[in-house]
Amino acid sequence: MSLQSARHPDPVDPIFRGLAFAAATTLLLTLGGLIVALMIGGWPAISKFGFGFLTSSTWNPVTEVYGAAGPIVGTLITAVLSLAIALPIAVCVSVFLTQYCPKAIAQPVSTAIELLAGIPSIVYGMWGLFVFAPWFARTVQLPILTSLDPESFWGKLLAGVPNGANIFTASIVLAIMILPYMSAVFRELFRSIPPQVREAAFGLGCTSYEVVGSVLIPYVKKGMIGVVMLGFGRALGETMAVTFIIGNSHRFPDSLFASGSTLASTIANEFNEASGVHLASLIALGLVLFLITFTVLAIARALLSSQRY
């Protein structure tokens, strides 16, 4: 039987190879096509505004002058803020699940966290707009507004309309959205550490805190940076939830509680009705977002692949 098949190779094999190859090339072609499509679509805006498109914060559909600086800054600020909130929580959750938590509880808790990842973005948006934002305005913003001197540093940093639609609340919602993904991968990273490493550290007389802080986290440091970058990439492109809660103004945000906009939210808001240069500018925004995300993900990949587990 095996001799026969060696002489007459199974015809399924080359077909399958061809299919796999076709699937892979189709994906690559789609990616390339996307970039080309964004460039062609955005060209009228890029050629009209040049480099100023990236540095100007004017976004005026009436006079047809567009600049992406406001949304770019908004995108980066919300992504960084959401990471700053999500990272410590994700580390603590994964450390707890892998080091301290009894097995009987670890599984349900992990499942619950993964369920968070399955909630559609729009649901987070509705929750943010109708539940979280009003609560935040009442219990955080109003007391701050009434107790702080508006001219002081903190007063200026935390100034804003007390309705909960601002960069900070958008970042919190974003943090909740990237948290499940980050803590799940962190958990896998910690699990991948050979048990001997941990046992050896305990053998030397380290406390649990010292084992986690001085041995385990340094052991997976590079991988963690990679995960952080992946989380960053997700936060950059998140659209619907942010659109609902960020307040959607194209100006530079001048405080933590000011409204702003992101690249993705601007596209989602204005694409329906846009035409001409407006449409081209929105597509150019898409190109900018694509390039930022691509860079971040490329760095993440490089960091992740340099450390194997």
């Binding site: 006079t63 707009l129 989602a268 329906n272």
Partner: protein, 372 residues
Amino acid sequence: MFKPFALALGALLLLTACSDKGAATAEGKDAPAAGDITGAGSTFFAPLGAKWAETYKETTGIRLNYQSIGSGGGVRQIKVKTVDFGATDKPVKPADLDESGLLQFPIVMGGIVPIVNLPDIKSGQLNLTGPLLADIYMGKVKRWDDAPIRALNPGLKLPHLPITVIHRADGSGTTFLFSNYLAKVSPTWKAEVGASDALEWPVGLGGKGNEGVSAFVKQTLGSIGYVEFAVAARTGTAVVNMQNHDGHMIAPSIEAFAAAAAGADWAHAPGNQLLLLDQPGAQAWPITGTVFIVMHKKQDKPASGRAALTFFDWAYTNGDALATKMHYVPLPPEVKQMMRAQWSQITGPDGKPVYTPATAATAVAASAASAQ
């Protein structure tokens, strides 16, 4: 890139549409209009379109497939012929209509109302004028107890609250009408901000859709926003009285929107391009809008053009009660009659009108009856 892509998509849709219709006509030649009616555009029209379609299907069995993708999208779709009709809140310019061989006609009207969230101030208590509204939206009037607002509301206890301006974040026909109204009544607004379906707003924050705006207004003490009347009626936010063209303070109501339409001169509006903003009339509401249906004058497939016009004729005749119930405003009977007459411009490949409305007399009688 968007264009070729849309074209490709359109071609695909057309292919499927063709095959559907081919099959349907092959089955029964005597069926008056086979196949579904497809349309796309105005989100404002969508709820009414859906209700009309529901009733229409019960009586005729013909379905309406309407995609609520926004006015601009609707006009784009009809231009590339992926749909039988487009619906838009902002009238297409006559030159643009001629270039693409399109006809537009009004189908139903609605009002846009400012809404506020102020302590102890209920619907219909606060008075504003157009220029003052423009000043508020430019950030020139900053607090609710500033002199210009107090002067208009002598009996009202106005709070010393900062004004938070809420606007639409998404490009929208509502914003188009609202900003055009402000530009019409305030030269400063016209010079500094302008009018379009999306703006560079001098102040304030943006909510997504009518729902986003009314949610922000509800949640923010001292805020002002603008929404479709139907939304304000549904959510129960406090609406504002506006001074109209004749100088009267008017509360928004179906009657006030209808009064604005009564003064409209459709007969002398080239291409039916008409904005019902700041219309004369003692009872006329100043910010009234119209939903326009856009169709190709040359129908490649007369059957689908006929099906669409049959539906709109039915809506003109039988749809008023439903429209009023949903806080839309029906067109006056004589405007409907004028539009029915214009439908003869929509012709098939043979140059003959694809649809001739039922005799004028019965149509008028029917619409008069349903208006009562």
